[in-house]
């Protein structure tokens, strides 16, 4: 039981990081970005490339990777942010101008499939791993065994959450982002550069997604389908928490992660992906605003 909770928190941490970007783009750019899952995938593959470059040297304590891997994560975040900006410049910005709102969603759905196949094209469809080292699990609490890598996932996610919280509450850019998210026209009238805010939204959302992808790759595996398989639980997390609410996305991610993990002893692993969907369906049915949502 305790083990399932721990596994759920680790999955939930990944989902929460991914859902933050999803909820940000949903709120600020006003569309459901189906290509967001591919930011996770690209983040994971970018890190794979850099991890190979920076390989060598000792591993950090009990972790399966060395300091080079941390550099690889940073590089993956930057590249994935760049990918998001590129996608925005080539596609989404043009479509935003055309006022044909749902075209954005269709385009993102198409972009998702294309990006996934670019991955297959470049890296092939075989699953990959960052390290062949075996992550030894230690008993950290009675009945709960975690590997050092999994502890790293939890700690890094917690640190990113705190950093994001401080960024949104304390910095000028963070406040501007919240203002644009509340009311883009009003924000624009008060002199906020909405385009700059949109750029940063992409960078932060895609950057966090890249981290989520790397962490998922670290604890599970890297595959072209990983982002697509995670997009539904991430949407479920965003909707459950309330679309537009960053704290809601974190909460939603944890709830979905825990629910998926705890469902395994009850209904078996085959229908695990259906749990997130069932929860989302239920929320839409009875409380479409979501737990921490403000708008309907």
């Amino acid at each position: 039981m305790g083990q399932y909770v721990a596994d759920g928190i680790i999955l939930g941490a990944t989902l929460a990081l991914g859902a933050i970007g999803l909820t940000l783009t949903y709120n600020i750019l006003r569309f459901a970005n189906f290509a967001h899952g591919e930011f996770l995938t690209f983040g994971a593959y970018f890190a794979l490339v850099f991890a190979a470059w920076f390989a060598g040297g000792a591993t950090l304590g009990p972790l399966t990777f060395g300091p080079g891997f941390l550099a690889a994560i940073v590089a993956a975040v930057l590249l994935t942010g760049g990918l998001a900006l590129l996608l925005d410049a080539l596609l989404f910005r043009q479509l935003r101008r055309s006022e044909f709102a749902v075209a954005l969603v269709i385009a993102s759905f198409g972009a998702s499939l294309m990006l996934r196949n670019v991955i297959v094209f470049v890296w092939g469809s075989q699953p990959e791993y960052y390290s062949r080292n075996i992550a030894v699990a230690h008993e950290v609490l009675p009945g709960v065994r975690l590997s050092a890598d999994e502890m790293f996932v939890i700690v890094l996610t917690a640190m990113l959450m705190v950093a994001l919280h401080l960024f949104l509450q304390r910095t000028r850019l963070g406040k501007e982002m919240r203002a644009v998210s509340d009311n883009p026209s009003l924000a624009s009238v008060t002199g906020i550069d909405v385009r700059r805010v949109i750029r940063w939204t992409w960078l932060i959302g895609a950057g966090l997604a890249a981290v989520a992808g790397v962490l998922f790759g670290l604890t599970v595996q890297i595959s072209p389908e990983m982002g697509f398989n995670l997009i539904l639980p991430m949407f479920a997390a965003a909707i459950l928490g309330g679309v537009g609410s960053i704290y809601g996305a974190v909460l939603g991610g944890l709830v979905i992660g825990l629910a998926e993990s705890l469902s395994v002893p009850l209904i078996g692993p085959a229908y695990k992906p259906a749990v997130a969907f069932a929860l989302m369906f239920l929320i839409l049915l009875v409380y479409p605003k979501g737990i921490l949502g403000e708008r309907s």
Partner: protein, 328 residues
């Protein structure tokens, strides 16, 4: 030469099956503005319903009642309509993006069920030996496919005529009115939710019919036949052909299926075996580029929606205005 002809017949049957699905999507998206990206799910329900009802008896799963094709088609239409009803109730009142998320989720859950509910669907091995619509002994594949092509042409023609009558009826005008301005339609006493649900259920039932036709044509269904790529193909067909125009839906199906098959054949002929997977990926990227380019540069598609103006009003509609008339 007969090989070419035989292949052409095979190609046209497949393209027309896609045209059926595309017509269903056009009712939902083109006329009502419903953003359904779970096309593969409704297709799956129709295909499996037909396979279960009409397939040969089997010890490993239920169904296989060997029912008549007409009963099988009816079961497929009914099953996909019921699924659409269940999906539509909570989502059609909400923002359009929610329908997108729920339908794509439902499609992947249905695929999961197809993979795991072995007693019903045969699991990953799928269901085989599904009978053809037209029973009988034929000497060659060509002779067997030709009647099927005739059936498909009749099905598409009937569907086309029926849908045209529907969208030009007062009912169809309400759909468009809701698509353009929900509040205005509501203030005239039309219940947007009820009309959306009707359109969604009918459109999905048509997709289910497409699935049944596919199952009977190929004779075999397995979970891998219903990947999200199918949804993507149908959407590309509709966007390229011109959403809001039933002729466009059929044309798009033919054009995109031709591009798809030709690029697939080219990739197979030109690429070494170890690069085939990459060829398939490149094919999808190619179709994706076509979709993006269409969305960016010609959002109305090859033949877009006709501007709806009263017969009494002699207005000159410029292409510019027609584009604006498209907007949901």
């Amino acid at each position: 030469m007969s090989g070419m002809l035989s292949y052409l017949v095979f190609f046209l049957i497949q393209a027309l099956i896609f045209a059926v699905v595309c017509l269903g999507l056009n009712l939902q998206w083109g006329y009502t503005g419903l953003f359904n990206i779970g096309v593969s799910g409704f297709f799956l329900v129709g295909a499996y319903a037909f396979a279960i009802v009409c397939g040969p008896p089997s010890a490993s799963h239920i169904g296989g009642w060997g029912a008549s094709s007409a009963l099988g088609l009816a079961a497929s239409v009914a099953a996909s309509a019921i699924v659409a009803f269940i999906v539509g109730i909570p989502t059609l009142r909400l923002r359009e993006d929610y329908l997108a998320i729920v339908t794509i989720g439902f499609a992947s859950i249905l695929q999961l069920v197809a993979l795991n509910a072995q007693e019903l669907t045969g699991g990953s091995r799928g269901l085989s030996g599904i009978p053809r619509l037209l029973a009988g002994e034929f000497d060659t594949v060509f002779e067997r496919n030709l009647p099927m092509l005739v059936v498909m042409i009749v099905v598409v023609a009937v569907l086309y005529a029926g849908l045209e009558a529907m969208v030009r009826s007062p009912w169809g005008r309400v759909l468009k009115a809701i698509r353009e301005d929900e509040q205005a339609a509501g203030s005239l006493g039309k219940d947007p939710f009820a009309f959306r649900l009707q359109s969604f259920v009918i459109g999905s039932a048509i997709m289910g019919l497409g699935g049944a036709l596919y199952a009977s044509f190929i004779g075999f269904v397995s979970p891998e036949d219903f990947m999200p790529i199918l949804t993507f193909q149908v959407w590309t067909m509709l966007v390229v052909g011109g959403s809001g125009n039933n002729k466009g839906a059929v044309l798009g199906a033919l054009v995109i299926w031709a591009v798809w098959t030709l690029s697939g054949t080219a990739a197979q002929a030109l690429l070494p075996p170890d690069l085939q997977v990459k060829g398939g990926a490149g094919q999808i990227v190619l179709i994706g580029v076509a979709l993006m380019a269409m969305l960016l540069f010609r959002p109305r598609g090859l033949i877009g929606e006709e501007a709806a103006v009263s017969r009494g009003a002699h207005l000159e509609v410029t292409p510019e205005q027609a584009v604006h008339a498209d907007k949901p």
